[in-house]
Each structure stands twice: as C-alpha cells, then as structure tokens.
C-alpha cells in the first residue's frame, strides 16, 4: 500500500506535510524521504498533518523520532496535527507526546 504525501510551502517559512494512509514498515521509507529533508533546513517550521492517517506502527513512529532528533539539531521545529484517537494513544503511551509538539485540533490553515 502507498502513502499519499503532499507538501505545501507557506509564506512564513513553514512547510505543511499532508499524509494519508497507513504508516508501517513498508511505507515508512516514503515518509522519511519526504519529512527528513524538511527538518534539515535551518529555521523551517515543519507541520505534519496526520488527518488522513488511521494507523501508525512502531517503524512509523521511529520516523517521527528521527525527525524530532533532526529538527532539534538543525534548529527547525516539528509539529504534528490532526491525530486520530488510535494514533494519539500511540504517541501518549510511548511518552512522545511530552517531548513533541502535538496538537489534536486541526489547525486553521492560512
């Protein structure tokens, strides 16, 4: 199965990554390719919209951890929005909700 990934560049140096599908061991490399380079551009605010994602497995979670570490060392910010309850639970159980910027509400874009 494939992931739908779409990137939108906003004026204020922020990039929104819209993701749809299931993030698992097979689709995780696609996400990494799209997400990691964004977190490496100094001063960028990266927002990942997970409204279209209904399932993330541990490999998928690993991609977000890699992105978090990369954004911490490259002076960028990373924010996750639009998590459904199953995905939210995963971030909460793993304690990642306390080290990551996670917003349940879908942001008012623009």
């Amino acid at each position: 199965m494939n992931l739908d990934i779409r990137t939108e560049e906003e004026k204020d140096n922020s990039n929104i990554l819209y993701v749809g599908g299931e993030i698992d061991a097979y689709t995780a490399p696609q996400l990494r390719e799209a997400l990691l380079p964004l977190t490496e551009k100094d001063g960028t605010n990266v927002v990942v919209d997970l409204s279209g994602v209904d399932y993330i497995d541990s490999t998928g979670l690993g991609i977000f951890i890699g992105a978090l570490k990369s954004s911490n060392s490259n002076n960028t910010t990373l924010k996750l929005i639009g998590l459904n309850s199953r995905v939210k639970r995963l971030f909460s159980i793993t304690g990642l909700d306390e080290v990551m910027d996670i917003d349940e509400e879908r942001e008012e874009a623009k």
């Binding site: 541990s58 991609i63 951890i65 978090l68 793993t94 304690g95 990642l96």
Partner: protein, 337 residues
C-alpha cells in the same frame, strides 16, 4: 555427469520413439516424468533441445536441412532461458546458505532468553514468547536477588527480524552489566536508556517495562519506558484494570527519568505484562480490542499461569489464521492464594 547425460540421451530417444509410434497418453506421461528427471539432473533447456535434435536425426536420417537448422536456431533462443535457470540455481544455493546463517543466529538468540523462570513459593509465573518470523524483537528477562525479589523485564524493539534481534543483544548485555545489587525499576531504566541512546540509529527505539516483586511484603514496583500497558487482575472484585507506567521510550534523550509506581498484590491477584504484538493482533475485522484480550484471560483464569498464557496465545493465533504479524510475548505473575 557425462555418463548420466548419455544415459538421459538414450532414455529420451527411447521414450520419444515410443511416443511417435503409439501417440498415446502413456507417452505423454513419460515426457512429464522425464522433465522431472531433467530438473533433478540440472540439465539446462538448451541441452534438452539438443537431446531432441540428436534423437530426431537418428530417427529421420533424411531430415530436411531447414528443419535441422531450425533446431540450431531454437537452441540459440533457449540459451537465455538456460542462463536464467542457472542464475536461479545459484540464487537458491545462496538462499539456503543465508537461511542456515539465520537459523544459527536464531538459535543464538534463544540463549539470550532465560532458560528457566526463577521460582518463589508465593508466585505462579507463566511466560510465552513467539517470534513472527525466525528472529524476535521481543525480549524478556527474569532475575531473583538474595531477598527472593523477582525482577521481570519485558521489552519490545522497534521493527522485527534481524535488525531488531541485533538491537536486542545490546539490551541483553546492558542488563547483564548492571550492578549486582537490586536496582529500583526507575534507576534501572535510566541506566539502560543511557546505553541505548548512545548506541542506536536515530529512528530506532525500545519500549520496556520493568517490575520487581517483593514476596516479603507482596508489593510490585514498576516503571515503564513507553511500553504497551499491561493489566492488573483484582481477584476480590474479579476485574481487570490497566497497568500502565508512563515514561518516554528508551533511546530518545540521554537524561530521561522514569517514575516508579507500585501496587499492593493481594492473594489471587495477578499482573499481566505483554508486547504490542498481543494487542495489535489484527483479524479480518480489524484490531482486537483490549477488552477482548481480558475476556480471553478471564476465561482461563482458573488455570495455572503457564496454561493461561499458552491458551491465550493459541486463541489469538487462531484469530489471526495461525499467521502472527508481530512478535508475541505474554507474561503472567500471580500471587498464590
């Protein structure tokens, strides 16, 4: 090889001749049998064509030159098949070799897991851990200290298969190198986290729950590093509650601290620890609910702990059509009545 080839040549001529004379089903059956033999003797497709040509030339000495040449042409065409066939053969050999290596590694990995569960009079312990493929990303560990306290660890390494298994060996060695005296669960996880943080790739992590059961006072002390919550069964009220210790997964930041929780364990109560392969059991109708899992455990609660975990595994394996998607580990510690 040359001998067996000339034998094949003779045999082919014989069955072809019989077929040309009688043209019946039996002849075709012989052809099928022969093709099995060809595979067994690793005779390539172009060699079969040349077998055919040799035989035809024998039967029809006046074969028109054009027909003969056409076989030379066919021979050339079959070369490519022959090459692909030989490549397939060598890949098969290589795969066998890899499989052997993985089997050795899988056996080695088994030695990482405790051979026997330490026993104390007041505790009934059951453990099952089954990998989805040959190598497992689940890890569990038991220790008994001089005060008869039982330490139990359950960990899940991201991913599965060989990479997870390699990472697991690190956890095993890190656990072994911890100081002899009993560590509080929180302190133990802090120690492990430092090892993991320094030694894993940026998108790797490990979740773990560590608990220590003190049989003198019947207290269970535990801390968690982002691990799938377990359950606590209360014998008096005959009900399950979630056993969860909030904490960040291992391998993210160096100075993570882990809160310690504790629980007074009454006779008949039991603690259920699990890996996410148990709760992420996926059936045709979707994921099983945690309530379904507790229903299974409840159904077998009158049995010894080992039989409970065996039965629950069997039920969940059946639900998934006997095809595990993730490594499966389930541990039960029950205070005897």
């Amino acid at each position: 090889m040359a001998d067996s080839f000339s034998l094949m040549q003779e045999q082919y001529a014989k069955i072809l001749q019989t077929y040309l004379q009688e043209k019946n089903e039996i002849g075709l059956y012989h052809a099928q049998q022969f093709s099995k033999k060809v595979l067994e003797n690793q005779i390539s497709p172009e060699e079969v064509v040349s077998l055919h040509l040799d035989a035809i030339e024998k039967f029809f000495p006046d074969l028109p030159q054009g027909a003969r040449d056409s076989f030379e042409f066919l021979l050339e065409v079959m070369m490519g098949y022959g090459m692909a066939y030989r490549e397939h053969q060598s890949l098969r050999d290589k795969q066998k070799e890899l499989e052997t290596e993985i089997n050795v590694a899988a056996n080695m990995q088994q030695t990482f897991l405790p051979k026997e569960i330490p026993s104390v009079d007041s505790l009934d312990v059951g453990v099952i851990s089954v990998p989805a493929s040959k190598m497992s990303g689940d890890y569990y560990h038991f220790v008994k200290d001089e005060n008869n306290c039982i330490g139990v660890a359950i960990a899940d390494i991201i991913g599965k298969g060989v990479p997870a298994a390699l990472c697991m060996s690190m956890i095993k060695y890190a656990m072994d190198s911890l100081p002899e005296q009993r560590l509080q669960p929180g302190a133990l996880l802090e120690n492990l986290n430092r090892v993991v943080e320094q030694n894993v790739a940026s998108n790797m992590f490990i979740t773990m729950m560590y608990g220590s059961y003190d049989p003198r006072v019947h207290h269970f002390y535990y801390s968690g590093a982002g691990h799938e919550p377990g359950f606590y069964y209360n014998y008096k009220t005959d009900s399950f509650e979630e056993l969860y210790a909030k904490g960040l997964v291992l391998g993210i930041t160096r100075d993570t601290t882990f809160r310690e929780y504790h629980k007074k364990v009454e006779p008949g109560d039991f603690i259920v620890l699990l890996s996410d392969g148990v709760t992420e059991c996926r059936t045709d109708e979707g994921f099983i609910e945690r309530e379904e899992l507790t229903r299974f455990i409840h159904q077998y609660k009158h049995l010894p702990a080992q039989e409970i975990v065996n039965n629950v595994f069997y039920q969940l394996e059946k639900l998934q059509g006997f095809q595990l998607r993730d490594d499966f580990s389930l541990i039960i510690l029950r205070r005897k009545v």
